[in-house]
């Protein structure tokens, strides 16, 4: 009797193999579909734990692999940073670009870089400067060689520009003040050069960094311009660099740095000393402040705006930078 029962069984199994549409619970696509909070919570914790263990396991495996392969091991993965995730800008340039060189040879700063003149800078403030602004201006004058501080005396910028060009100045720097501290910097490059307005923040004078301004020698400083990648950035960098004398006195060992990071330009002033070929020792002195470009105008306080920060259009993405 075994045979027929087997047959029956076989038939049955065969029947079962044929796909039957049975009502079953829908697969959970998301934990958040569970309405019961307790269950949801538990599931969530479980899931996290699982993920964590998996991650640790993966890490261990990777380490083992790397050890085994030794030199052949694939390079360690670097974590993402905002700089690495930065949106590619069309205007980003490398240092050596033929087109760039050509353009820079004929732009307004070409004369500075060809060392044809010595920059002479006029530094002023707004109408009613307070102590901190005055001190800041004095410090700036110590930074920038061949600079002259002057009181504003209620002159308009256009008039000031005319008079400055007449007197042979090549740049005008106006420190704007608000609530008794400097908060803006307007840099005008005089012979028909671009104008740039920066918002100044975190100004720190020498004594706030606990340094004596007397330690600053009168030697002409070197200028370091870091991280200016786009075309706009290069223009700004050249502009800031053109405030300083083209030939620094290396024996003074002073370095003024404009470091751009995510559109904030940090200014620092250091004295450096080389310990050997691999190490430098820096001692910060002098003021420090950060700048943020608001707009860049083509003429000397007139003309088209080459670039202006329009918050609603430009600040939509957190990974987009302009300098």
């Amino acid at each position: 009797m075994a045979a027929p029962s087997e047959e029956i069984e076989i038939e049955e199994t065969q029947e079962e193999i044929v796909p039957e549409i049975r009502p079953c619970k829908p697969a959970r696509s998301n934990i958040s579909d569970i309405k019961n909070k307790n269950k949801r919570k538990k599931l969530c914790i479980e899931l996290k734990r699982k993920k964590r263990t998996e991650k640790i396991k993966e890490k261990k495996d990777r380490k083992k692999e790397a050890k085994r392969l030794g030199d052949d091991a694939p390079p360690k993965k670097q974590p993402h940073t905002i700089e690495s995730l930065r949106e590619k800008d069309e205007t980003m340039v490398d240092d050596e670009d033929d087109e760039l060189e050509q353009e820079e040879a004929t732009d307004t700063f070409a004369s500075y870089f060809s060392k044809s003149y010595v920059p002479k800078v006029l530094v002023t403030c707004s109408d009613n400067p307070h102590t901190k602004s005055i001190a800041f201006i004095r410090e700036l004058c110590r930074m920038i060689p061949n600079s002259q501080p002057m009181w504003r005396k209620r002159s308009s910028i256009n008039k000031m520009i005319k008079r400055a060009t007449a007197n042979g100045f090549t740049d005008v720097v106006i420190v704007n003040e608000d609530k008794r501290i400097p908060n803006g910097l307007l840099v005008v490059h005089l012979p028909e050069g671009p104008t740039a307005l920066f918002r100044l923040s975190n100004p720190k004078l020498c004594k706030e960094i606990h340094r004596d301004h007397k330690e600053i020698s009168g030697h002409r400083p070197e200028v370091i311009l870091n991280n200016f990648k786009t075309r706009l950035g290069r223009v700004v960098a050249r502009m800031l660099g053109a405030l300083f004398h083209y030939e620094p006195e290396f024996k003074g060992r002073r370095a003024c740095t404009f470091h751009n990071q995510r559109d904030y330009i940090f200014f620092r002033h250091h004295r450096y000393e080389f310990k050997n070929q691999e190490r430098v020792k820096l001692r910060e002195m002098g003021p420090r402040f950060t700048l943020r470009l608001q707009w860049l105008q083509q003429g000397a306080f007139e003309g088209d705006y080459e670039w202006a920060l329009k918050r609603h259009e430009m600040e939509t993405s957190r990974r987009k930078f302009f300098l």
């Binding site: 923040s201 330690e215 370091i224 470091h259 080389f274």
Partner: protein
């Protein structure tokens, strides 16, 4: 002007009289038109006229001069900007970037004539300069001095301020740079220091090499010598330079002699001279 007689014609109640531009005439007009009103109302009217003319003239004056554009600060936006700036500052690691740039410039040769490092091509330098720098190093045995720049350069800089600075800021683990075998040959210069003792050239050479290595290894307190002079030297060193980096290490019992994997000269005889030398430097 409103009069009681017209109270029933609301549309025609108010009577407008245009005053002349001339202030005096306008005052007279007021007095004429309000002749039957109380003195108080006339006064108030005149005052009003005066106020209006005053502020109009002030507005015209201001428009002639410069006006500050007031841009309102949106609090949340401002906070966001500040926050991002702080984060950018952290991400910037400015000191590192500056150091990198400076080292790059050094390699590219912008400071060619100013800094001489032993690792660079010897052909560039004149031998005389080497000696000078050696002398410097020996003279400035004081552990807190840094010998990096050339003598010429030092002369040109504002010495007082800078040397003070250097004493403050610089570490005392110098002597590492000029760690060449070339030094050992040029003990002619070094001789001037060790005037008191009668030494052979060999002794002097060994002593010099030892002392230079002493300076280098000062931090870790290594010594190749065996014997009591070791302990003596170490103990004197401890008293010497309390602000050296390795002082913590050397508070341990000085019997621990660590050996580094560097080539060393082994001196087999005792050296009472060395101990005296150490005393001088303290």
């Amino acid at each position: 002007m409103r009069t009681a007689e017209r109270a029933f014609f609301p549309a025609k109640q108010w009577e407008k009289v245009k005053l002349s531009r001339n202030f005096v005439k306008a005052l007279q007009q007021i007095d004429e038109n309000l002749v039957f009103w109380k003195k108080y109302f006339r006064q108030k009217c005149r005052q009003r006229l005066l106020k209006i003319t005053q502020y109009l003239t002030r507005m015209r004056k201001i428009k002639l001069g410069r006006q500050k554009k007031l841009i309102p600060i949106k609090r949340k936006v401002d906070l966001r900007i500040k926050r991002r700036e702080e984060k950018a500052l952290v991400a910037a690691r400015i000191d590192n970037a500056i150091e990198k740039q400076l080292l790059q410039r050094l390699k590219d040769g912008t400071y060619e004539r100013i800094y001489n490092f032993p690792q660079e091509a010897f052909s560039v330098r004149v031998d005389g300069k080497e000696e000078e720098s050696d002398i410097e190093e020996e003279e400035l045995d004081d552990k807190e001095e840094e010998v990096e720049t050339d003598e010429d350069v030092v002369g040109e800089l504002e010495k007082e301020v800078l040397e003070e600075e250097r004493r403050e800021e610089m570490d005392s683990d110098d002597g590492e740079e000029e760690d060449d075998t070339d030094e050992e040959r040029e003990f002619v210069a070094d001789f001037e220091e060790s005037d008191e003792e009668d030494e052979d050239l060999e002794d002097a050479a060994n002593r010099m090499s030892l002392s230079s290595e002493e300076e280098e290894d000062g931090d870790s307190g290594d010594n190749e010598n065996e014997g009591e002079s070791d302990l003596e030297r170490e103990q004197t060193k401890i008293s010497d330079s309390p602000n050296k980096k390795g002082s913590l290490k050397r508070s341990k019992p000085p019997q621990v002699i660590k050996r580094r994997g560097r080539a060393r000269l082994e001196v087999e005889y005792e050296e009472p001279e060395t101990s005296t030398k150490v005393k001088i430097t303290s």
